[in-house]
């Protein structure tokens, strides 16, 4: 198949770019090596829309962060993903930390962060009463927020697909040849995609993709972040995202109220070699909890539901690298998209669109571009009367599959219809299995619905694609 544009990587960057380009008369393909979109770095992060005070505007990542932040309200209206501007605070516990907070404040003012304020002890305890009373002051940025990162990516991709973008899953790029003015891209299992322009949004693997296309040589350094998810009943659930005063490379371990009502502590920051090393460790668990308890004393290991780790695809420079390749023809690099990549993503879409102009790509707006996608009703958000109405229309909404997160059969069916046919894909779309029982009661029901809706047999249902099978054989043989 011949396309105008091929985007490699369906994480938040690739998805944002795909949706942006869906506004134009272009034939675009989004290529992903995993079984679903958002299955890499974009699924395992803190889910924060950053405020824009952490880095100087001299960095590209900071400029895109500030621009991206402003775009979320409009996107939410169009796409309906869970997002809330709950605000961000930085809590200071010593005079020295307070000095650092003042620097962050000055940087925020310079960057144009809307509403940023320095807080006295009384003020900060007023807006966040869960804080350790030893706090002596801090920073408040009301424009920061929280988001479900995978739902954001899912909705971007859904919108792009609705507007004509195509998606190839399980397509691992192995080879690329430039011939007669187009790129011939082959997968490890022999599929071929042809495209005039290629955008490298391959996250952790952006360095290998760049090498495959004979473009710039650079190295992505995976920086691991472990996070712990706490029960929605935790007494520590805060009003705001709470940052410590940063020290060193990372912004430090945060305390995050998730937009769906659970809470999270993390991430750590540890450089690793292996790009698939998403293991968690007891040392980091202890470190995170010891650290977090100094900020909110009611945080407890007893409330842990689950843990996970994500890998930030960092470059040596610490900045994003988004530019037209100087070496490979019609090739755009979108690399080093670590934090605040999620916040910056909508702006990255616009930025890459403008880079295509530099390459003389013809960008003509579609007349019938539709920014909206159909919203799936979520039983946990409906009143009893709204539920009654919808169950009357479709009884599957009355069949509650996931008791912890109140997910109905109909929502799971919608997830599968939208192409999320692995257990993790269904989980990220619906939240089934994400609550306190972690799938103990709903997994077998979800498997059956996936089998029924897709026609997959029991041994084809996976946790997240490839060899992550859930059921090995049938009792008494397959007959």
């Amino acid at each position: 198949m011949k396309y105008d544009i091929a985007i490699i990587g369906a994480g938040v960057s690739g998805a944002s770019i795909a949706r942006k380009l869906s506004q134009y008369n272009l034939k675009t393909i989004l290529i992903e090596k995993e079984a679903d979109v958002s299955f890499g770095t974009s699924k395992a992060n803190s889910g924060i829309v950053h405020a824009g005070f952490h880095t100087s505007w001299k960095y590209l990542k900071s400029r895109l962060e500030i621009q991206g932040n402003l775009m979320f309200d409009g996107l939410q209206r169009e796409l309906g993903f869970p997002f809330r501007r709950c605000g961000i605070i930085v809590a200071a516990f010593s005079e020295e930390e307070l000095k650092h907070v003042q620097e962050l404040y000055r940087q925020g003012v310079e960057n144009g962060v809307i509403g940023i304020e320095i807080c006295s002890r009384e003020r900060i305890l007023d807006i966040e009463p869960k804080l350790n009373p030893d706090v002596i002051g801090g920073l408040h940025a009301p424009n920061g927020g929280i988001i479900e990162p995978y739902r954001f990516v899912f909705s971007l991709v859904e919108s792009a697909l609705k507007n004509g973008v195509e998606l190839f899953l399980n397509f691992k790029v192995e080879k690329a040849v430039r011939s007669r003015g187009t790129w011939m891209i082959s997968s490890d299992d022999g599929q071929i995609v042809e495209a005039d322009y290629v955008i490298n949004a391959a996250g952790l693997y952006a360095d290998s993709i760049s090498a495959i296309f004979n473009a710039e040589l650079f190295k992505i350094i995976p920086r691991k972040g472990e996070e712990y998810l706490l029960d929605r009943m935790s007494p520590a659930y805060p009003n705001k995202v709470i940052f410590p005063v940063p020290s060193g490379k990372s912004k430090g371990t945060l305390i995050i109220p998730t937009v769906e009502g659970t809470m999270m502590v993390g991430p750590t920051a540890e450089e690793v070699e292996d790009k698939e090393d998403t293991s968690t460790s007891t040392e980091q668990l202890n470190r995170i909890f010891d650290f977090s308890r100094r900020i909110i004393p009611s945080i407890s290991e007893r409330d842990i539901i689950t843990s996970f780790a994500g890998l930030r695809p960092a470059l040596e420079s610490g900045d994003f690298y988004i530019d037209v390749s100087q070496k490979a023809e019609n090739f755009i690099q979108v690399a080093g998209i670590q934090s605040p990549g999620l916040t910056a993503a909508p702006a990255i879409g616009d930025y890459v669109k403008d880079l295509l102009k530099k390459l003389d790509c013809s960008l003509i707006e579609k007349k019938n571009w539709d920014p909206f996608i159909d919203k799936v009703p979520r039983m946990r958000n409906l009143s009893h009367y709204e539920s009654e109405k919808i169950v009357k229309e479709n009884p599957q909404y009355g069949n509650i599959i996931c008791r912890c997160e109140k997910v109905s059969e109909a929502e799971i069916v919608e997830a599968v219809k939208r192409g999320h046919s692995t257990l993790d894909g269904v989980k990220f779309f619906t939240r089934t299995g994400m609550g306190r029982c972690q799938g103990g009661f709903c997994t077998y029901k979800t498997i059956k619905i996936i089998m029924r809706e897709t026609g997959l047999s029991y041994n084809q249902v996976t946790k997240r694609g490839r060899n992550s099978k859930v059921l090995m054989r049938k009792l008494g043989g397959d007959s």
Binding site: D277, S279, H384, V391, K463, G476
Partner: protein, 421 residues
């Protein structure tokens, strides 16, 4: 919205719910059971092994058989059963004092409202999972709770894996060790963090020893390895409570089953404002098994996790008969406190009364041969019962007759304290 009015609504149609509902219905009260699954019976339906009913029926039954006996009685009774229906909210009626409202969702009945003067909580319990015990390592496929595996094998007929390791020596884990072996899988080990098994002795013998499955006491799984599917685990012995890394070893496996404890399922209760015990996670109840909300009772594993279903049935009948008295306005009596004393982790119920016999259930914190359970009120010993052996995994029950409390009945504000010595 469709509305139905009952004298009593029972949430959950497992062993506890069925026994309680039958007891209430027997006295002529309009009773309903709301059950989320397609059948009555709850978790018993996946427990196809035997060992149920020795107290209740004086014979050995399988789980489904035990459930069937009660389900048949329910079907023969006037108890209205709403199957495939989930209670989404339990609240007090805004219109009539003493009435409770239950909003239920169902693909069969739609969204409907039940109103009742009394409610019995019998939602059972859930399994603790990997996150609750913080096992480090990667997050591949092939890790699940033993109960989920039991469901998949015994009801759906699927084998989740071939090379099995089980964490935790809880009863479900032990039963599953045997079950997976019978299904042709290799069970390599059962790993237990405590120096003693968490399951009952009968299961250790019949499920592990009979099949030569090694049980590693005082060992932990210190790492899970594998990318797509679990490939191996690292097991580390504990020496004085500290991981002895030097002596850790690896076991290859493709499946890891977790049997690391059960927790009463009380999200609904908590949202309804019912006070819970921080130790047990079940509702705090008085001697009539009534919660702090008037007219709401609790029984079975939602109250505290039992070892034997026979005890669940007995406790639930008692809850049911108290509901009858409540509905007849004859449930009266001063409630005095019961305290867990030395070596006792908890006592249920947390109150007693002088009007009738009192039945207490408790768990020991220690392993001991030749132990005594002692009930005292201040300096007065009410009762002492000898036990050949006590351990945390075996629930202890003790009943105190009305007459036995007579010697302290004159003293106001008298407290009982139950200890194991």
């Amino acid at each position: 919205m469709k509305e139905y009015i009952f004298d009593c609504v029972v949430i959950g149609g497992g062993a506890a719910g069925m026994a309680a509902a039958l007891e209430v219905e027997k006295s002529g009260f309009d009773t309903a059971i709301v059950e989320r699954e397609e059948h009555l019976g709850g978790i018993l339906l996946q427990c196809i092994h035997n060992g149920f009913g020795l107290h209740e029926f004086k014979e050995e039954l399988t789980g489904p058989e035990y459930a069937e006996r009660f389900a048949e009685r329910v079907q023969a009774s006037s108890v209205k059963v709403f199957l495939e229906s989930t209670v989404m909210e339990l609240s007090e009626s805004g219109e009539a004092a003493g009435m409770h409202e239950l909003h239920c969702y169902s693909s069969v009945y739609g969204v409907f409202l039940l109103k009742a003067r009394s409610v019995i909580l019998s939602m059972g319990c859930r399994e603790r999972n990997r996150g609750n015990i913080g096992i480090p390592g990667s997050r591949p496929s092939g890790i699940m709770t033993a109960g989920l595996a039991q469901r998949l094998v015994n009801i759906d007929g699927y084998i989740p894996g071939e090379q099995i390791v089980i964490i935790g020596s809880g009863d479900i884990g032990l039963i599953m060790a045997r079950r997976m072996t019978w299904a042709g899988c290799k069970v390599h080990a059962v790993i237990e963090i405590q120096p003693y098994p968490s399951g009952i002795t009968r299961n250790i013998v019949q499920c592990l020893e009979d099949f030569d499955i090694p049980l590693y006491l005082s060992h932990v799984v210190s790492e899970i390895r594998g990318k797509d599917r679990i490939e191996s685990i690292r097991v580390t012995p504990l020496k004085n409570g500290i991981q002895d890394e030097e002596n850790s070893f690896e076991i290859k496996c493709d499946t890891l089953l977790l049997s690391v404890g059960l927790v009463p399922e009380n999200e609904l209760s908590r949202k309804a404002g019912i006070e819970l015990s921080p130790q047990i996670n079940g509702p705090l109840v008085d001697s009539f098994l009534m919660t702090n909300k008037k007219g709401i009772f609790a029984c079975g594993n939602v109250l505290h996790v039992h070892d034997l279903v026979d005890y669940v049935s007995r406790e639930s009948r008692s809850a049911g008969s108290n509901v009858v008295k409540y509905l007849n306005s004859t449930l009266t009596g001063v409630q005095n406190k019961v305290k867990a004393g030395a070596n006792v982790r908890y006592v249920v119920p947390q109150k007693f009364n002088f009007q009738g016999d009192n039945q207490f259930y408790m768990r020991s914190m220690i392993v001991k041969n030749g132990a005594k359970v002692e009930v005292r009120a201040g300096n007065i010993i009410i009762k002492t019962v000898n036990h050949n052996h006590v351990q945390p995994s075996e629930m202890i029950s003790i009943s105190i007759k009305k007459e036995e409390l007579e010697k302290i009945s004159g003293i106001p504000d008298q407290q009982l304290e139950i200890s194991i010595i």
